[in-house]
Symmetry: C2
Subunit: 202 residues, 2 copies
């Protein structure tokens, strides 16, 4: 095949993402120009655009890899004996930690993935599903233990909690919830969703 080329591509791609992490983190996303980024990565401006179609896509690629890794890592290692609330909290807070470490990365990624310009082909849709499915074992476990209704579709359950996660992130980005209160807020909402908003029918 073309081993040299392949390796070069991988190296350069990494160099670009590394440069992006460095510069976006230090100076912010909008304050960093592609030319600057290209210089830092040791490539020409045009080359950046042969690896990524847009500036946002650089963030997207990084976040997707990062989040995917975190989720599967955690979902696999979460204590399956602990309550649903605890397990979800561990995962959502790990993701939140990434975001707090680089506010801009998270913002751009969320803006583009939650409300995309066009559904970027089937690929991203697949990605999104996969993302959900990592959590399925946790929900199934909760169903088995009687913490969650078994008549609900996993997709709907996953969507529900995902929505609450988005809400908390939105409130954080809007300054409505300070960083230290985020776990508490998330906990409250999870419990609300589990217990239901209607009066208990005991």
């Amino acid at each position: 095949m073309h081993p040299v080329r392949e390796q070069n591509k991988i190296n350069k791609r990494k160099a670009i993402i590394d440069a992006a992490i460095k510069l976006f983190s230090r100076n912010g996303y909008e304050q960093t120009s592609i030319e600057e980024l290209a210089r830092e990565a040791g490539v020409g401006k045009g080359t950046v655009y042969s690896y990524f179609q847009t500036k946002k896509e650089i963030v997207h690629a990084f976040c997707e890899a990062e989040l995917d890794f975190t989720r599967s890592e955690l979902a696999a290692h979460t204590n399956p004996e602990s309550s649903l609330q605890e397990q979800l909290l561990v995962i959502f807070m790990a993701e939140f930690k990434h975001i707090t470490e680089n506010r801009d990365f998270g913002r751009i990624y969320l803006q583009e993935s939650v409300f995309p310009r066009e559904h970027h082909g089937e690929a991203d849709l697949e990605m999104q599903n996969q993302y959900f499915e990592i959590l399925y074992p946790i929900y199934r476990g909760a169903q088995r233990r009687g913490e969650l209704r078994s008549d609900l579709e996993l997709l709907h359950i996953a969507g529900h909690f995902w929505a609450l996660h988005l809400l908390v992130l939105s409130c954080w980005y809007n300054g409505m919830i300070p960083t230290e209160e985020v776990p508490e807020a998330m906990k409250t909402l999870i419990n609300q969703a589990v217990d239901g908003l209607k009066p208990s029918t005991i």
Copy 2:
């Protein structure tokens, strides 16, 4: 006073927003340049920027007015006898209708208001709260009728439903839910939230 100036300002502001509605709707947000928009509105390019700080803010201003109007209009005229699900559905679907009529307007507005670059001062935070409060009477009514728990804060209830609304919009923008299935999806999620995700304790 300065009656002539004041009136001019109001007229021009409206002219700019009208031009934006016309051009963004016809050609899309990114396909419309500010120069084009200024020409359509009959003002210079610089003038646009004395009324709005950024291109996105034009969309923001329009959407905020539009949504605010719709919400208060509907919240006041919704039949207070009907079920919570029905009332919420009427309001959320009315908002959704606006969005379907101009996908770009909704997208830009949601991206910026849900995950803002910086919490744009207290003004927007106030706005957001006000936005929630319009729905409070509906939730209070539901509490009175025993459809919702009375021990929950209205803000948390409002946030919960708002989160589900966002989720559905996100799925729609991502092509996961076609337009005609949106009401059904919304209904399902509302019921899920009301009934709770845990098994009924009868």
